[in-house]
Symmetry: C2
Subunit: 517 residues, 2 copies
């Protein structure tokens, strides 16, 4: 390598006075001797190497404003290369303003460059990576958890939350559709799509929601988003200003809280009980809140289904106070006893509900597709904010999903998964009763892909850390509380990705960890 | 249809007093006679029909709290169906709290439901869709444009901005990779991915950026996002609080402004000239701004490349004032004369630059992939905000793209497109000079996939509307100005999706429209 490198010490000529603006010129310290390194074996074009070397030397202050550089002829000679790459490099440096050229004074480093400001600080300022500490950022993002509960337990199986029965996904059908659309991809499919999503998919979603979830909606109210997280973000940005107060379930989904706190909203934590959100408590605490964020079908994490009475109270409050209800219906399709509870949106006669859903639970999380059902008069504002956030959803999987729904694979998959999860759920409940019957209180097993166990007198975070070491993925309950003084301890147990035959063993493991404490 | 419908008038029995809480009971108006409709031919299960009919009647106030409902036996008889679906429906209505059942008093509509609050308002409140007007939403989203410039001209061809040479995309290679990963998709690929993006792709992007754009970066600084729009959003949310002031180019990219205004930041419009952003003017207007958003490689829309002097001034200002520079390098790969200008990020020695890039221009927009290069000490905060915004990017196309880059298809495609666009560009410039030489001033043809023409004394929006009628897609220049008093008129002409042989004709058409005015 070495023998192929040409090191070239630029001859410094102090042009201490120019006949132009001699008052502004400064003497350039003569000790600095920048080195231009050219490696002929490198694949990088020679002209680029010459250009880069000069640019670096200037940026780093090794060449100062007004300093003369050798002529292209001299430089080519000293570097032992042809003059053409040097001419090209000089042209580029002139064009970009690093060099300037004046009749009679040759080529010099541009005199309009700020004088030595950068290198002085660069040398003295500690590199942010080396110093270790983080420089201050926006206050609104300072308090966000860095990974959060979702990423805390990353293994698959018992009892990771938010995971689905990955092995039971109909890969073959899905891949056939992916191939179909990938092959059909033509020029037209490459352009930006509609910010609201693909019309075919919006049709299919609207029709599914009307049938399966009792929504009152048309395709034009549907926005395709990347999941319920983006759905909440979107709703927040359209409906709430900085400083606005918002009711949130206590305990609740901490990722949902992140959306509202990072948008400068103020959280009013409203307790939940077996009937869901305690609306009367919300009214007592803050009647004038601008919105309520609720999971009425299956409260996260405690699992209650919001009662009819509470639903009507909530709708009533929203209508009277011109407040908004953001309904997060994240896993409503998986209900095991009776019908899935109807959506709040379907009960609302005043268009006060924004409905948010996701396909992460019924299909799979890495698909990154979900939807928002916006009130008809606000559709245009939702569209505007979505455009500002990230323009539009990607196209291919929207096509695939539209066909997957229309051809009946979607309902079939939901039905199959409901049976599968129902079995896992009943084995889990049975095992928990046998193993922890007296010490743990079970909460919310009628629906969804998780349930909660409440236990007194434990440190659930520490226990979760301990469980991780034996590859048991526990999500502690206490971080689901906004105020630590409200916090109860326990665990949220996901049943989505744990095979039924593994459940009794996993629960025994859990028992050992808890009893061993 | 009719003969299959069973209409069933519920026998209203006024249970005016219960032996429980007679003081709270109210008389129910006797004129209301809710109708339960069952259609035996409908595919919906009978129990669901019974359930829905009762629920609707209650929600709409046709059945009042405390009102008695017929026994399951009677209901089944009158509906002419078996008792089982009625039992199931009643069980569900009891479980959800619509009904309550007390020994001795049979089944009644739940007395805890709010009394008739909903139907009264539902009847009187105008439906938001019917009333036409929009209800007020958050102030921060009120001013956002609803479609904006990007969506204004939606045809393909001359001179739509933001479009690429769709026909020249290497569909075959791309589809082979899509099929490869789609077939390989296993359980593991379905779960949430890393919020930062796929490690392989981050590696490939970092290496591309170091080589092609002169960035100082490692893979761990890369965040995969859905495009430069989400990149800007992310940077704004991490770095700026509500009320913070931010320098933005005047004229500039209106979608970028949307990000900052909808996040409650205050825009300081800083003029651009042939050297890019006028840093001295920014300092005069507001030295203490928290950030500057710039497009140094190819200013949008006027096309200047930021000069070395301005670059160093800007870096200097940021370092001195602990401000941030958000570098939007949206189409830097397409430069036709000399080397692409190096990135600001690569010149920065104080880690003050957040670099934002997109694949919408070098690959295609509906892919929805881009990247952010965050300063090393802030990576963790960028990750936290990204999680709060939408968890993580979708997986499949990240795999495809990583291979597309690693296998050399990416650089090959960029090189091919550079030649193609260079030809289109020179034909466009030539045609414009011939057709509009004296009336239009050309701006920014050295790089990128668009150029601007400045023209005095026209209404560019009206002209763009007129051009649309003859399928010529003009983007007016004046909306690119934040302050209308600064606005110059003209057009931004995209050259990405117009075949070279169509350009002379399209320019003639443009000439006719302009001269015909």
């Amino acid at each position: 390598m070495r023998q192929n490198m040409v090191l070239f010490n630029i001859h410094l000529k102090l042009n201490s006075y120019s006949h132009y603006d001699c008052t502004q010129m400064k003497r350039v310290a003569s000790g600095i001797s920048p080195v231009i390194a050219i490696d002929k074996r490198k694949r990088q074009f020679l002209y680029k190497q010459v250009y880069e070397s000069y640019r670096q030397a200037i940026v780093e202050g090794r060449l100062a404003p007004g300093q003369r550089v050798p002529s292209t002829r001299v430089a080519a000679m000293e570097l032992g290369i042809s003059r053409i790459p040097v001419l090209d490099a000089y042209a580029q440096l002139l064009a970009e303003g690093y060099f300037e050229s004046r009749v009679g004074s040759g080529t010099v480093v541009s005199r309009s460059l700020p004088d030595r400001a950068i290198p002085l600080r660069a040398a003295s300022a500690p590199s942010p990576s080396a110093s270790g500490g983080r420089r201050p950022v926006a206050k609104r993002c300072s308090a966000l958890p860095s990974g959060g509960d979702l990423y805390r337990r990353r293994g698959r199986g018992a009892f990771a939350v938010g995971q689905v029965a990955f092995d039971h996904f109909p890969f073959q059908v899905w891949n056939r559709l992916v191939t179909r659309y990938s092959r059909r991809m033509r020029a037209g499919g490459l352009d930006y799509g509609d910010a609201m999503g693909l019309p075919d998919l919006r049709d299919a979603i609207a029709s599914h929601l009307r049938t399966a979830r009792g929504l009152h909606c048309q395709a034009e109210q549907i926005l395709v988003v990347s999941g319920s997280q983006q759905g909440l973000e979107l709703a927040c940005r359209v409906l709430l200003d900085a400083g606005d107060r918002v009711w949130m379930e206590e305990p609740g989904y901490s990722f949902a809280r992140s959306v509202f706190t990072s948008n400068d909203c103020r959280i009013v934590p409203v307790p939940v009980d077996s009937e869901g959100l305690d609306v009367a408590s919300g009214i007592r605490q803050c009647r004038r809140a601008r919105a309520a964020v609720v999971t009425p079908s299956h409260q996260y994490p405690l699992g209650a289904t919001m009662s009819a009475s509470r639903r009507l109270q909530l709708l009533d409050w929203a209508a009277k106070n011109e407040a908004w209800i953001i309904e997060d219906d994240y896993d409503s399709e998986h209900r095991y006893e009776g019908l899935p509870a109807t959506s709040l949106q379907g009960m609302d006669r005043n268009s006060r509900v924004v409905y948010v859903g996701t396909l992460s639970k019924v299909l799979f999380p890495s698909l990154r597709l979900g939807y928002v059902v916006a009130p008809l008069d606000l559709v245009e504002r939702f569209r505007a904010v979505r455009l500002a956030m990230d323009i539009c959803p990607p196209t291919l999987f929207q096509n695939v999903l539209a066909d997957f729904i229309r051809e009946g694979h979607f309902s079939r998959h939901i039905r199959r998964m409901r049976t599968l999860y129902a079995e896992r759920r009943s084995v889990l409940i049975e095992s928990l009763r046998r193993e922890l019957g007296s010490v743990a209180e079970l909460s919310g097993g009628q629906a969804g892909m998780h349930l909660a166990i409440l236990m007194n007198g434990i440190d659930d975070r520490v226990t979760a850390d301990r469980a991780e070491r034996v590859r048991l993925w526990l999500t502690p309950l206490s971080p689901a509380y906004h105020r630590s003084e409200n916090a109860r301890t326990g665990f949220i147990l996901g049943l989505g990705s744990v095979p039924v035959q593994d459940i009794p063993d996993a629960v025994r493991k859990l028992g050992t960890i808890l009893h061993g404490k």
